[in-house]
């Protein structure tokens, strides 16, 4: 299995997810669950086969993390759908996932088998997978914030969905960060070294805490909270891939092997 076959798996999954989005829109629950589930299954088969053929978890390059992101978005979408039955959520998650699949198809990177010794650890997979799931949930919260601020404009219970997405997303963000800390202790001798990636992770983590605490006060305006979600998502992008291009992080971060 290699990236040459990705297009077939990706298109099959996307067709399933589109069908699921359509079924969700029409209120056909069973059809929405089955088709989205099938799409996830096809996509996960590709990930597993790629994992086996690379002989290492596909989590190192940006292209590989985008792969997980395109997988987790529909997963987060179907979880939200199962709880709140929002008919548009599957369309959103499918479109976002399609964007990341398209980036991987049109901007292929060189993928090789080598993995430096520092990355060979049982912590590697949980650390990155948990983070990608957190990013997907917080991405969904961001989409929701944009939708509420610029399209729907009148809202009643929707901000509560944002809250829930952020609670779960932040919980995963925390777990990902602390797994990273425990791993760092085993690999480099310190659990926290203020490496640029760690600094941005801390900033992002605090920024989501601002949202969570602000929302505890029911008298605060929802609009401010939604804007905070948008700003926070930008911080998250900086943490995820922005630092690869950030002058202040060049040559100082142990986390910039993503591009090689």
């Amino acid at each position: 299995m290699n990236w040459n076959y990705f297009i077939f798996f990706a298109i099959t999954s996307l067709l399933f997810w589109t069908a699921g989005a359509w079924a969700g829109w029409k209120g056909r629950k069973v059809a929405a669950f089955t088709t989205t589930g099938c799409g996830l299954l096809v996509f996960s088969v590709f990930i597993i086969l790629l994992w086996i053929s690379l002989e290492r978890p596909p989590l190192r390059t940006m292209g590989e993390t985008r792969l997980w992101y395109s997988f987790f978005l529909p997963l987060a979408g179907i979880i939200v759908y199962s709880r709140w039955r929002y008919k548009w959520i599957l369309s959103f998650s499918t479109i976002l996932s399609a964007v990341f699949i398209a980036i991987n198809l049109f901007k292929p990177e060189i993928h090789d088998k080598t993995l430096m010794p520092a990355l060979q650890s049982p912590w590697f997979a949980p650390h990155v997978i948990v983070y990608m799931f957190a990013y997907a949930l917080l991405g969904a919260a961001f989409v929701m914030a944009v939708y509420l601020l610029f399209f729907k404009k009148k809202y009643t219970e929707e901000p509560d969905i944002c809250d829930n997405l952020v609670y779960v997303g932040w919980a995963f963000l925390t777990i990902g960060m602390l797994f990273g800390a425990l791993w760092a202790k085993e690999a480099w001798g310190t659990y926290w070294a203020w490496d640029p990636k760690e600094t941005w992770a801390a900033a992002t983590w605090l920024a989501y805490l601002v949202y969570i605490h602000l929302r505890l006060n029911r008298r605060s305006t929802v609009k401010t909270a939604l804007w905070i979600l948008i700003v926070n998502f930008l911080l998250l992008q900086m943490c995820w891939w922005g630092i690869n291009y950030l002058p202040s992080a060049q040559g100082t971060s142990v986390h910039t092997y993503n591009l090689s």
Binding site: M116, Q120, G189, M238, S248
Partner: protein
């Protein structure tokens, strides 16, 4: 302003006040030196800080400001200020420890920048205060939050105050010689109550790669160099327009000319000799298998493009002989980049002062713990690569680690509880 109940405006005023005080401190006493907090200073500071928080909690009914500390209106501005300063830290290139800041304000040494420190202290005080309040009025729904707050308080206090007690030293071990002396962060020599004897250092390498460089020596394509991996299953592959086949694959090889010279040389001398590029150019016999120090993989490669075939040896070279590439045409050469290590490990015997000895293997991601020191595989003689007879270890001793870990596990538990709560909490 300052009419009760206080709101975000007052909360923001506190953080701005702390920033101003921080700036005044920065200019008057200079950046904060964390090294000043070595034992027992850190324990005293921690005790004072905790007593302040407990005292504030006890006086909360009488002093409104202490009650305000546990409000969202105090927490949000504090978190926002901490996030903002951390973002600034992320945007500025930080200066390593032991060097002065590169800017007039001290932002490039954010961890020693007073406003940053004071904002974090304020945030920590709030976290501590909230923990006590939540402990005081135990409520099932607040348990995830209580566990997270308590864990965060422990981590923030013990990790920062404990950092001054952390020792990081480097030990250089040569094969067969027990070593107990180390270099500390200031390159001063220290003696440890334990000794390490390197029995064998080894590197496993990934299969060799082949890539094309231009006449400036840059790998092509410049932005994302392409390569092929020549493992045991390799049959042939296309690299740009060349069809690459491997005719002969010698894992441990030396130039034939060198092997001939080495034939009757004393071993010690072989270890020191180095063939230069002239010798390499004169080497007509290619490479032969050699199971000794300094050997490196060599590939006899055939490259075909448009009916034209070139054949020749390619190797990345070792510390004993230079690399050799295969000229494909005037502007392109096929080369083998330096091999990438898959795993490097040291087989060692560790001796402690009480006369015990332990045999173990130390490798990256697998440190060894003995006598409250954690021993990490750090480096080796990179020039000699897999033939290195030197292994460099980093030894770390952090007496506050158990407390920090306790806090980390509490935050982890809090996050899991929060996830469970969010997942089971349905609307209304």
């Amino acid at each position: 302003m300052w009419t009760k109940p206080w709101n975000y405006r007052e909360g923001t005023a506190v953080t701005m006040g702390l920033t101003v005080v921080g700036l005044m401190l920065q200019y008057s006493v200079g950046p904060l030196e964390w090294k000043a907090f070595t034992w027992p200073a850190n324990a005293i500071v921690l005790a004072v800080f905790v007593s302040f928080i407990v005292g504030a909690y006890a006086l909360r009914e009488r002093v409104y400001a202490f009650r305000f500390m546990t409000s969202v209106q105090a927490a949000v501005p504090a978190l926002a200020a901490a996030a903002l300063l951390t973002v600034i830290m992320g945007l500025t290139r930080q200066v390593p420890e032991g060097k002065p800041a590169a800017d007039p304000f001290g932002l490039t040494k954010m961890l020693n920048f007073w406003p940053f420190v004071l904002i974090y202290v304020w945030m920590t005080a709030i976290v501590g205060e909230v923990t006590l309040r939540q402990l005081g009025r135990l409520n099932k729904r607040a348990i995830p939050s209580l566990v997270s707050h308590a864990g965060l308080f422990i981590v923030l206090t013990t990790a920062t105050l404990g950092s001054a007690d952390m020792q990081r030293v480097k030990m250089y071990c040569e094969t067969g010689k027990p070593e107990w002396r180390v270099l500390d962060e200031r390159q001063d020599v220290k003696e440890l109550p334990l000794a390490i004897q390197l029995n064998r250092f080894s590197i496993e390498e990934y299969p060799p790669k082949l890539m094309v460089i231009d006449d400036k020596g840059l790998p092509l394509p410049v932005k994302k160099p392409a390569h092929i991996l020549v493992d045991r299953a390799f049959k042939g592959a296309k690299l740009f327009d060349w069809d690459i086949r491997v005719v002969k694959h010698v894992d441990n090889a030396v130039p034939e000319m060198m092997a001939k010279m080495v034939g009757n040389m004393p071993g010690e001398m072989v270890g020191r000799m180095r063939m230069d590029s002239l010798g390499q150019a004169l080497n007509k016999g290619g490479y032969i298998s050699f199971e000794g120090k300094g050997a490196q993989c060599a590939l006899l490669v055939r490259a075909t493009k448009g009916g034209k075939t070139t054949e020749g040896w390619v190797t990345c070279g070792s510390y004993q002989f230079p690399y050799q590439g295969l000229e494909l045409d005037k502007h392109h050469t096929l080369v083998m980049p330096n091999r990438e290590p898959e795993r490097f490990a040291s087989d060692v015997t560790v001796f402690t002062k009480d006369g015990k000895s332990v045999d173990t293997t130390i490798e990256v991601n697998k440190p060894f713990t003995i006598a409250r020191w954690k021993v990490y595989q750090l480096s080796y003689n990179e020039r000699m690569g897999k033939w290195s007879d030197l292994s460099i270890f980093e030894l770390v001793r952090d007496p506050w680690l158990p407390a920090v870990y306790f806090g980390i596990y509490m935050i982890l538990l809090g996050a899991i509880l929060m996830f469970v709560q969010a997942a089971t909490h349905r609307q209304n």
